[in-house]
Symmetry: C2
Subunit: 284 residues, 2 copies
């Protein structure tokens, strides 16, 4: 049985890309405010960018807002990614961006929905409820999660930056740490199946560097480049692992709103590769 | 314009109840694992318990697990509560238990889904992303939220109990506090529209007492009685406000699995009233 992050890394190698295509059918970006239009928007983006996508990340909210029809569209989009993967002969992971989080008995239903019914490979989860709330999602190593650690929004520091006692993570050097680091270290200790990563916003580079030091091996999902202001080069430098992997960079409007999404995705993929090569040369 | 908690308090007075009926169509409790069966299960429970329900709380996960059909069933159940309310001449609030939480642009879509499309009156939200992630939900005072503060699950202490520096909430008596208390005090300061309450699990009485002292005026939604082990009398004593309101007690299986759900709901409603009267006599 292959773990989620082995699966992702195989795809990263296949397409030489750390780019994650965000499938966010915001109503203002659609021809009309309908599930059919959201579906069409995403299917077009999948078709145009599949060669350069290390992963696709549909955001549940922008489908849920169309009710039952939106849910059908979401299922169709995930199925289309699977078909496109088969056609190319390289499977592309689907990360359902849903940020769920509930008590264990309810979490089981969310896990069934994401992995069995929708056939997503991975889901974003909120960390606030603790380990037992994520267990139903990670028991099968093939299913992955990205756990909210330091989010990209302006108000993320309100609780996530609070200084907590290091507890079990205390070292000689460090007695206290921000909550987000405590969450990151906890997640690393839970990652026995190689299927737990972290959401680390691209908008807070100091936090990202700190989390990379604390958890040198974990994958980051790092939204916030472009629309939210993160600078690509600095972000890659702050989050890349020593093996030149370990950070997935979701982009959506930057690509979907360009005149030629296919070309734009290729350019960004290549831009990331150049930065990555610079970093590995500097590190040699 | 009436605020959400004025609306809830009117209903609490109308039915003399602090009981919240949880609509959790767990698959093992259904005749068959289908959205139709989930819908039937909930409609029956609504019909039987409406006289004693201060609110209904459908949990999104148990509908979402049936995909598009589940989403339609959820909408039908909420519509049925509205019809039942009209029939009785007393509006029953619907709290969508969804525990959503995302960056502001995405949060807007979730808010539209819950309040405009599904016509819920209130939603449960995760607090980890901070104030800007909840703003799209609370701008209209008629819409309410219950923000996760101290959850009822066994692992809730993992992050929620961490001791943080009190920051802006520091007093002469108190320099540090558990994260859940910091969240509670923050939520109280944001509650300018009388539409923000807290999820405070019935399974941690010391935490509940502490949160009641910190936020004497806020409404609590307190799951965990029955299946999860909270004792009714102790819970009401720990969470009740001075005005004999302020705590909503969700129950689902205790009622749905009894031979006579209508009678069981009436009994529990009355049990709560007896405890409440005892408390007010003791306080006099």
């Amino acid at each position: 049985m292959e773990s989620f992050f082995s699966f992702l890394e195989k795809r990263v190698d296949d397409c030489s890309s750390l780019l994650c295509i965000g499938l966010d059918p915001h109503i203002p970006d659609l021809k009309e405010p309908s599930a059919a239009s959201a579906r069409e928007f995403c299917l077009n983006l999948v078709k145009q960018t599949s060669h350069y996508a290390a992963a696709f990340k549909p955001n549940a909210a922008f489908f849920e807002v169309f009710g039952a029809d939106g849910w059908t569209a979401l299922k169709d989009v995930i199925d289309a990614i699977q078909e496109e993967s088969n056609r190319m002969g390289s499977m592309i992971p689907v990360i359902l961006d849903a940020k769920r989080g509930d008590v264990p008995s309810t979490a089981k239903a969310y896990a069934k929905s994401a992995f069995e019914n929708l056939s997503a490979h991975c889901i974003t989860l909120n960390s606030y409820l603790g380990k037992d709330s994520i267990e139903p999602f990670v028991q099968n190593p093939e299913n992955g999660i990205f756990l909210l650690c330091k989010t990209s929004n302006p108000g993320s520091g309100e609780f996530q930056d609070l200084i907590v006692d290091g507890g079990q993570w205390t070292t000689d050097d460090q007695r206290s740490m921000p909550l987000y680091e405590y969450v990151a270290r906890s997640a690393e200790s839970w990652n026995v199946n190689n299927n737990i990563g972290l959401v680390v916003g691209a908008t807070y580079l100091d936090a990202m560097k700190r989390i990379r030091v604390a958890t040198p091996g974990l994958w980051f999902l790092s939204p916030g480049i472009g629309a939210q202001g993160g600078e690509l080069e600095q972000v890659v430098k702050s989050g890349l692992r020593k093996d030149g992997k370990g950070i997935l960079l979701p982009m959506s409007r930057t690509i979907s709103q360009s005149d030629n999404p296919r070309q734009r995705a290729a350019e960004i993929r290549d831009e990331i590769l150049v930065i990555r090569d610079q970093i590995s040369r500097q590190r040699e």
